[in-house]
C-alpha cells in the first residue's frame, strides 16, 4: 500500500443519542460504529458491504464531514474529516442513494450549474465540465428537461454527475444503485468501475454482495458497526473455504431421509427448498466430493436429478458473516 492511504479510519466510533418520550424523557444510546479500522489505497474501488442498519451511511457521513465521530479519527487524503473539513470538502465528491437531493423543478443542467456554484468552480471550467459529464453519463439531449420528468436511472446519473463536478480525488457512493432497475444498476456499476480505472478512489457502500463482487477491488463486510471481514472478494470467500456445497433435486422425497445426510462427517447444514414440483436440497459441507460418493448409499432408491457440487460463493461467505445477527 502507498505511503498515505486515500481513506483511513482509526478506531472510529459513533454513538447516536436520541431522546424518547415526552413526559419522562429517556436518553437512548445507539452505537452505529464500534471502533472501525480501515485503510484504502489511492485508486482503489473499495466496497463496504453490510445489511441495513450496519453503519454504512454513518461511516460515509463521517468521511464526507457531515457528521462528527464520537471518538477515533477519519482521514481522507491525509485531511482530518473533523477539523480540516473546509479543505477536504473541495477535494471529495459524494452521492447518497435514493432520489432526494435534486431540485425537481429545475432542469438537469440548471441543477448542475447551481451545484457547481456551491463549489465556486470558475465559469469556463464548469461550462466545459458540465457538458463533458452530461455526455459521459448519457444525459445530453435531455439536460434542459426538468428533473421531475427524468427516469429513476437518469436521476441517479445526474446525482453522479453532480458528485463529479469538482473533479474529486475521492468519491463516496452510498448505496448508489438502490431503487434502480437491473439495467440501470448495471449501467451505473460500469460507470463507477470506469471512474476507478481512470484513477479515482471510490468508496462504495452496498447491501448487494454481487454488486461488491462484480466491481470492487477490495471489500469490507460490516455488521452491527464492526468490520467482520476484509480483503479481496476471493480472499473473503476463504471464510467459507471448507464449506463446499452439494445440491440436487428430488421429487416427493420423505424429509426423514435427509437425517442420514445430516449425520455425515463434515456436513454443517442441510436445507431444503421447494422449487416448482421438485425439492432442491442444499448440503453445506467440508468435503463435497466425499458427500457425493455417499449420496447414492444414503438416498438409495430415490431418483436424484441435477446433482452438482460447487465451490463457495461470496454470497455464502456473506450469509455466514452476517447470518448470526439476523
Amino acid at each position: 500500500m502507498a505511503a498515505q492511504p486515500a481513506i483511513e479510519a482509526r478506531q472510529l466510533r459513533k454513538t447516536y443519542t436520541t431522546t424518547r418520550g415526552i413526559f419522562r424523557r429517556e436518553r437512548v444510546e445507539r452505537a452505529a460504529l464500534r471502533g472501525v479500522d480501515l485503510k484504502i489505497a489511492p485508486g482503489e474501488l473499495f466496497g463496504l458491504l453490510g445489511p441495513n442498519g450496519a453503519g454504512k451511511t454513518t461511516m460515509v457521513k463521517i468521511f464526507t464531514t457531515l457528521l462528527l465521530p464520537s471518538s477515533g479519527s477519519a482521514l481522507v487524503l491525509g485531511l482530518d474529516a473533523v477539523k480540516e473539513q473546509w479543505a477536504l470538502r473541495k477535494r471529495i465528491g459524494f452521492v447518497f442513494g435514493g432520489e432526494r437531493g435534486l431540485y425537481w423543478r429545475l432542469s438537469g443542467i440548471d441543477n448542475l450549474r447551481y451545484f457547481a456554484d456551491l463549489y465556486r468552480i470558475p465559469p469556463d471550467v464548469s461550462r466545459r465540465r458540465i457538458s463533458e459529464l452530461l455526455e459521459r453519463l448519457d444525459l445530453s439531449g435531455r439536460e434542459r428537461d426538468r428533473v421531475e420528468l427524468y427516469s429513476r436511472g437518469m436521476k441517479q446519473r445526474l446525482h453522479l454527475a453532480r458528485g463529479l463536478l469538482n473533479d474529486p480525488e475521492v468519491l463516496f457512493l452510498d448505496e448508489p444503485t438502490i431503487g434502480l432497475d437491473p439495467v440501470g444498476a448495471r449501467e451505473l456499476r460500469v460507470i463507477v468501475r470506469e471512474l476507478a480505472d481512470a484513477g479515482k478512489t471510490v468508496f462504495l457502500t452496498t447491501h448487494y454482495m454481487f454488486e461488491a463482487d462484480a466491481i470492487c477491488d477490495r471489500i469490507a463486510v460490516i455488521r452491527d458497526g464492526a468490520i467482520v471481514a476484509e480483503g479481496t472478494p476471493s480472499s473473503i470467500k476463504t471464510v467459507v473455504r471448507d464449506q463446499g456445497i452439494v445440491e440436487f433435486e428430488v421429487v416427493g422425497m420423505p424429509v426423514e431421509r435427509l437425517a442420514g445426510l445430516r449425520r455425515l462427517p463434515g456436513v454443517t447444514s442441510v436445507a431444503i427448498s421447494e422449487h416448482e414440483l421438485a425439492q432442491v436440497v442444499t448440503v453445506h459441507c467440508a468435503r463435497p466430493a466425499e458427500v457425493m460418493t455417499q449420496l447414492g448409499v444414503i438416498l438409495d432408491g430415490i431418483n436424484l436429478e441435477k446433482v452438482s457440487s460447487r465451490e463457495p460463493t461470496l454470497e455464502d461467505a456473506y450469509v455466514q458473516l452476517i447470518g448470526d445477527s439476523q
Binding site: 457531515l66 457528521l67 437531493g101 435534486l102 425537481w104 429545475l106 440548471d110 451545484f115
Partner: protein
C-alpha cells in the same frame, strides 16, 4: 476583484435558480391571481374594518399601511418556503457538505423574496391608487421607492430568522403566521404605534416595518430624504440584526447537525 466578480456572478445565478425552483408556477394565471388577489383581499378587509371602527376619513391610512405590510408576505413566508423546499428536496446535506461560503448562500436564499416583496408592494400600491384614490402628486416618489426597497429587505431579514428556525421545526410556519399578524397590529399598519401600550411599543421598534412604514407614509406625503433618514437607518439596522441572528442560528444548527442532532437536515 476577480474573486468578488465571481461571487457576484454566483450570487446572481443562485438567485435566478432559487426563483425558478420556487416560483415556476404550473400556470402563470395562478401566480397573477395570487399576486393580485391576496393584496386586494387583505387591503379591503383591513380598510373595511378600520373604517367601520374609526370612520371613513382614515381609509387611506389603512390602505397604505396594508399595501406596505405586504412585503412581509414575501419576506417571511417566502423565505420559509425556500427552506421548506430545501428540506423537501433533500438538498440540505449537499449544501452542508459543500465548501460554499455560508454567508453568501444564506443571504442568496432571501434575495428572491426581496424582489418578490417589492413586486407585491407595487401591486398593492397600484390597488390603493385605483380603489381608494391615493393621490401621489405631492409624494416624494423616489423616496417612497427607496422605502419600499428598504422594508422588503428588512422583512426578509426577519424571514431569515424563521428560515433557520424552519430547519428544525416543521411548524415554523405557524409561528410565522402569528408573527405576520403581530406585524399588522404593532408596526403602525392598522394602529398608530403611539397609541399602543409602552411595553408593546418596545416590541414595535424591535421589529422591521415600524420605522420603514412611517418613513413611507411621510414620503407619500412629500417628505424629503433628510426628514426620514433616521427612520430608514433604524429600519435597516433592525432588519440587519434579525438577518444576522438568523445567520448565527443557522451556523449553530449546522454544528449541531454535525454532532448528529439535526436528523431533519438529512
Amino acid at each position: 476583484m476577480k474573486r468578488l466578480a465571481l461571487e457576484a456572478a454566483v450570487f446572481g445565478r443562485s438567485t435566478y435558480l432559487q426563483y425558478v425552483a420556487l416560483f415556476q408556477w404550473a400556470n402563470p394565471q395562478g401566480y397573477v391571481a395570487y399576486k393580485v388577489l391576496l393584496p386586494v383581499t387583505q387591503i379591503l378587509f383591513f380598510v373595511e374594518l378600520g373604517v367601520y371602527a374609526t370612520g371613513p376619513q382614515n381609509a387611506l391610512y389603512f390602505a397604505l399601511g396594508n399595501a406596505l405590510q405586504l412585503t412581509a408576505n414575501a419576506g417571511i413566508f417566502g423565505v420559509i418556503a425556500t427552506v421548506a423546499n430545501e428540506r423537501q428536496y433533500g438538498t440540505l446535506p449537499i449544501l452542508l457538505a459543500s465548501p460554499a461560503n455560508r454567508m453568501v448562500t444564506f443571504l442568496s436564499r432571501a434575495i428572491v423574496n426581496v424582489i418578490d416583496g417589492i413586486a407585491t408592494v407595487v401591486v398593492g400600491l397600484a390597488i390603493v391608487v385605483v380603489l381608494f384614490g391615493l393621490n401621489l402628486q405631492h409624494a416624494n416618489l423616489l423616496l417612497l421607492a427607496i422605502c419600499v426597497v428598504v422594508i422588503s429587505l428588512t422583512t426578509a431579514g426577519l424571514g431569515l430568522m424563521f428560515g433557520s428556525i424552519g430547519l428544525v421545526m416543521r411548524d415554523a410556519i405557524i409561528i410565522a403566521n402569528i408573527v405576520y399578524y403581530l406585524l399588522l397590529i404593532v408596526c403602525g399598519i392598522n394602529f398608530p404605534v403611539s397609541r399602543l401600550p409602552g411595553a408593546v411599543q418596545v416590541l414595535s421598534f424591535a421589529l422591521p416595518l415600524t420605522r420603514g412604514v412611517q418613513a413611507a407614509r411621510d414620503a407619500a406625503a412629500g417628505a424629503s430624504l433628510g426628514q426620514v433618514s433616521g427612520l430608514l437607518a433604524g429600519e435597516l439596522l433592525v432588519g440587519l440584526s434579525w438577518a444576522l441572528a438568523g445567520y448565527l442560528l443557522f451556523r449553530l444548527l449546522e454544528n449541531w447537525a454535525r454532532r448528529g442532532g439535526l436528523q431533519e437536515a438529512y
